[in-house]
Point group: C2
Chain length 289, copies 2
């Protein structure tokens, strides 16, 4: 049971067999304290992931933010909701013609760039509500690849249609600008991370970033499962696998967190936050609601 599936369950399926789920997942249900009481006898239907934008709880994170109901409807009409993808499936590969942006609906996706030596740099892990493919607009071709880390549902937004639509909906255009800008600002933070921070600082920052993103999605910020491997974390943070492993062990020993394979419990958020260096801007925002 991973984050994406938990969200799928909570947000999109009205009725399921909890017990069935538990057996499928072979681990306790995480992040589902508010799981609705279950009574009926229907089995998971992956068709039900095809939720309209107006009913999607991710709409506050995704593109529809600030749009009128009518405009959301128009946006909804261009969204393609394909069948769920499975671990390892590609959303797109580097070099492919750019056609669509993708929004993670449930599950998680990693993006990565490849270099000639076969070397791979993980560029990001994308959680529900996050948009993928923005870097492909300029060259009209994907400059990185994207594969799903676990069974995931993804909305597809044909970019040409999105662009047409944004011509007629100024607030959508604004939202697009914000989205693109947010991505730039985020990568900027990553540059600071990779350029200046220590291994310890990097992992702490990574965990806190996940924590905050889970919180935004109404999930536990202190208790979650990682959908990516140690290798992928290390690659993302510019560290060797061994270093990541050792750091997890050390953090564990220092009482900062509990770690059991992919299951993470942040037991001392304060200490973890004290460990990372913040930018003054982040600092300022922290004091706001």
């Amino acid at each position: 049971m991973t984050l994406g599936q938990a969200i799928a369950l909570r947000e999109n399926l009205s009725v399921i067999y909890l017990i069935l789920i538990k057996r499928i997942c072979k681990m306790p249900l995480m992040n589902t304290p508010a799981f609705p009481a279950l009574a009926d006898s229907k089995v998971i239907s992956f068709e039900s992931i095809r939720v309209a934008c107006r009913n999607c709880t991710l709409s506050t994170l995704c593109l529809p933010l600030g749009l009128t109901p009518e405009d959301v409807e128009r946006l909804d009409s261009i969204v393609r909701r394909n069948r769920p993808l499975h671990r390892g499936d590609y959303l797109f590969q580097s070099g492919e013609r750019f056609r669509s942006l993708y929004v993670v609906k449930t599950g998680s996706v990693k993006t990565f760039a490849q270099s000639t030596e076969g070397g791979e740099q993980v560029l990001g892990f994308h959680l529900p509500g996050e948009i993928i493919g923005l870097d492909a607009i300029d060259k009209d071709a994907h400059v990185c690849s994207a594969r799903v880390l676990e069974t995931s549902a993804v909305c597809e937004l044909p970019f040409s249609r999105l662009e047409e639509l944004s011509v007629t909906i100024p607030s959508l255009q604004h939202q697009m600008y914000r989205l693109l800008s947010k991505e730039i600002a985020h990568e900027t933070e990553m540059l600071l991370l990779l350029g200046k921070k220590s291994a310890e600082d990097r992992l702490a920052t990574f965990l806190l970033s996940l924590s905050q993103r889970f919180r935004k999605r109404g999930l536990s910020p202190t208790d979650f499962y990682l959908s990516m491997s140690r290798h992928e974390i290390g690659n993302y943070l510019g560290l060797a696998v061994e270093t990541v492993s050792r750091l997890f062990t050390r953090f564990h020993d220092e009482g900062l967190l509990k770690v059991d394979r992919k299951h993470i419990q942040l037991t001392d958020l304060e200490a973890l936050e004290a460990m990372v260096s913040h930018s003054p801007v982040e600092e300022y925002r922290r004091r706001l609601p």
Copy 2:
């Protein structure tokens, strides 16, 4: 005499005293093989940097790309051309309210983020035609600071007006999307650089990037002056000053380049390119015109 000034001279001033310039700059004029014959007797007028977009040779690099003459005219009407800035002047500082995007017209600008420890991460060096401030749209506040590295002219584009305009000019909107996307793709490359590459690879990549950007601007790709200090280069590349210095010395000894203070001559581009690891996408693009 630095790049920016050379461009200013070539592109914006119809008549100047070459000798006067030489004295001011106290070094030979670089990158000005096509310098127009000079005859008249007018002194530099910094007012003349106020070139309309339609006459600006940077328009192929900057926003007007692909716009009709009428639309360029409309874009031109919102551009503010302020007086030149001098070394160390701020375009904006982190935390400031976001009002405008800036396009370097002549000279060069560095952007950098600050962390609580007073640590500074240089995010980029911006040459003529390059746009600054795209990361501020989302939060409506600047998340990094920008200061000019040498006397520079900068066009200011009030973003609210630009946004209004882009609603009515679809090709401008498209251009904006491309621009934002390009920035993301560029930072992606930087992530790969900082995450995976060796010190040697980083400096080589940096020099080649400069080289290519100079070439695009019609300047010598092999003979140029750096407007930034070793310290700033090191900071940008995630290296210590000493490492940068040592690498320059080593590259020099290996016959890859000649370096005298800020004056760089790349004598063996091939070898330099062989040194850096390319992404398959870059590889593919390289084979195209």
